[in-house]
């Protein structure tokens, strides 16, 4: 099972990085969802995959009778899922607010916090005009 999961993790990472390199904020967010899942799966793999029973001690015994699965990676993943859920929710709201306030999801055109561009630079003049038209 491990090599297959490793491949899946690799594939997810590749797709996620591709999406996150995009200038489009929505694509970035989709990439973020994928890369969080990839990281969680990676912890799952790195923690060791076993076909063992859950770590529950039967009544009357001090330790489980047979080998049990390692519960720690699962605990880590659960925590990571909760955290990434919270962060993703925030990032989604932020992206929507950015779209409303700044009128774009193209990160290259988000320049409200940057110093004004030099009008003489050739490559940037059309963009600043487009921004003026949008505003």
């Amino acid at each position: 099972v491990a090599p297959v999961l490793a491949l899946v993790v690799g594939l997810l990472f590749g797709a996620a990085v591709y999406l996150m390199l995009s200038r489009n904020l929505v694509r970035y967010l989709l990439g973020l969802v994928l890369i969080s899942s990839a990281a969680n799966l990676l912890i799952f793999c790195a923690g060791g995959l076993t076909r063992a029973v859950p770590a529950i001690v039967p009544p009357g015994l001090a330790a489980p009778a047979e080998p049990v699965a390692n519960a720690l990676p699962q605990a880590l993943i659960l925590t990571a899922i909760v955290i990434s859920f919270g962060l993703l929710a925030f990032a989604l709201v932020l992206a929507y607010r950015a779209y409303e306030d700044l009128g774009t999801v193209d990160t290259d055109r988000m320049r409200a916090a940057e110093p004004p561009l030099h009008e003489s630079a050739d490559d940037v003049v059309p963009r600043s005009e487009a921004e003026r038209a949008a505003a």
Partner: protein, 500 residues
């Protein structure tokens, strides 16, 4: 004993809860907020005194024995950092009472501020790598909130960049933690210190080490991972920018120092050389970036990047003197940088702008403000007898000791260029006459407001002068902290043996 380690987390968390419940009563809220910050400082001082006499203190939460449970641990470095968080937290909390507008205060500024302090203290006190991740997230989500609170266009813009890059750091950190757990089977820092020595394949460890370097490097804003910082730090209110500038990047530096002295020392020739190159490039790009800016806050933001290079330099040299320099620099820089941002806010209030071109004449109008600016500015640039001089002296001496002449030269030149930036602010804001023309006229701040704003600035400037003039006890503290870092035996035995 255990309360000492838990209180620096419970106090700010409790204050955050209180300020949330009381958020409608403005006067009560800010009193609670300032009181909470003062209580945190008191906890930090008691913790430092205890660690001073009793050595490394560790506690296992829930009484689970060491490598399995959640460990809180304070060595000298952690205790020093908690004290510094207390000092900056208190100063910024006082400043924020006037600086942060009523709407932001009502919407939860104080709550987010204290959650941020909780996360920072947690990161300094945890003895477990996954816990460090969780504290980083606490800190991160609070900083997101503080950054967008108020919802101005530029804030949203800055936040998009800040959030986007910091989430990459988060995921990288998580991946590195997962892989390290896969290799060693533990996440307790002290246990990791022992287990990494048994790992058969050091190459694998170096790969994970570089992942950690990237994750913490983004937090610490080192070259080439710093672009989020100057894109966002100038957008929120000055009080928020000051606490970010003072503490957030330094948590990244602290994590780098912790991980690269306690765990990844198996291939110093590779990892620490890489850190050395990064340190040099960080210093140079930061200071050059600052030279091109004309907004006070952006100049200061780029200088954070440049100064982070010095701290990483101390770690990268990995000699006793280098680490002493790094610890000393951390303490010096947190105070000075927070102070410079707070003074930037005062300049905005009295001069009407952050833009150098629109400022002027402040020296003749308010000479006390000019003096207050000069103290941290000259300290940042490294003039004797201020704190920055000793910090730079230690680091340059450490580089010369191991015959890294090039890096010593870079550190000196960057210091010189820092003088250039500080002179630029001095000339434009204080010395040249106020420019005529359509400035933005703002209402002159009331005397009471100015006093409240000036008190924390004066307090921090005094700390800078005290560290500079009576440097010896502080160097001694840094020396002992560095000794702890280079010989973690006490740390390991406090956590693993008899700590429960």
């Amino acid at each position: 004993m255990s309360w000492l380690l838990v209180l620096p987390l419970l106090v700010p968390l409790g204050t955050a809860a209180l300020t949330f419940l009381l958020r409608r009563a403005r006067a009560v809220v800010w009193t609670t907020s300032v009181g909470g910050a003062a209580a945190l400082l008191a906890c930090g001082v008691v913790l430092l005194v205890t660690v001073w006499s009793a050595g490394v203190v560790a506690v296992q939460l829930g009484d689970w024995p060491a490598p399995f449970g959640i460990t809180l641990v304070a060595d000298r470095l952690s205790a020093i950092m908690v004290v510094i968080v207390g000092i900056t937290g208190l100063c910024v909390a006082v400043y924020a009472v006037v600086d942060v507008d009523a709407d932001r205060q009502r919407l939860g500024f104080h709550t987010l501020f204290h959650v941020l302090l909780t996360g920072i203290c947690g990161a300094f006190l945890t003895g477990d790598l996954f816990n460090l991740y969780v504290w980083f997230e606490v800190m991160l989500i609070a900083s997101f909130g503080l950054l967008v609170l108020g919802g101005e266009r530029s804030q949203i813009d800055g936040a998009v960049k800040y959030v986007a890059i910091n989430l990459v750091s988060t995921v990288t950190f998580l991946i590195a933690v997962g892989l390290l757990y896969g290799i060693t089977g533990t996440l307790n820092l002290a246990d990791l210190h022992l287990r990494v020595r048994e790992v058969a394949d050091p190459g694998l460890l170096s790969a994970v080490a570089v992942l950690f370097m990237i994750a913490f490097g983004i937090k610490a804003a080192v070259f080439p991972l710093f672009f989020w910082l100057p894109a966002s730090y100038h957008t929120p209110p000055v009080a928020v920018a000051a606490i970010f500038a003072a503490l957030l990047t330094k948590v990244g530096v602290y994590a780098l120092i912790r991980v690269f002295t306690l765990i990844f020392t198996q291939d110093v020739g590779y990892t620490h050389t890489l850190l050395l190159v990064v340190a040099a490039l960080t210093m140079v790009t930061g200071v050059l970036g600052a030279a091109a800016q004309s907004d006070i806050r952006r100049i200061l933001s780029f200088h954070i990047v440049s100064q982070i290079g010095y701290m990483v330099l101390g770690l990268a040299l990995f000699t006793p003197l280098g680490l002493i320099g790094a610890v000393f620099y951390l303490v010096h820089h947190i105070i000075v940088k927070a102070n410079l941002f707070l003074i930037g806010g005062l300049v905005r209030r009295t001069g009407g702008s952050f833009e150098l071109a629109r400022l002027g004449g402040l020296y003749s109008e308010r000479p006390w403000l000019a003096i207050l600016f000069l103290i941290p500015a000259l300290s940042l640039a490294g003039f004797p007898p201020l704190s920055g001089f000793w910090a730079k002296l230690l680091l340059i001496k450490a580089s010369l000791e191991v015959e890294h002449y090039l890096i010593a030269a870079v550190a000196l030149v960057v210091g010189l260029l820092t003088v250039y930036s500080m002179t630029k602010i001095w000339i434009a804001a204080f010395w040249k006459p106020r420019p005529a023309g359509p400035g933005v006229p703002i209402a002159a701040p009331s005397r009471r407001d100015l006093t409240v704003l000036a008190v924390p600035v004066v307090a921090m400037a005094s700390v800078t002068v005290i560290i500079g003039v009576w440097a010896e006890p502080f160097v001694e503290i840094a020396t002992l902290a560095a000794a702890d870092l280079l010989d973690p035996a006490a740390y390991v035995s406090a956590v693993l043996g008899g700590g429960s």
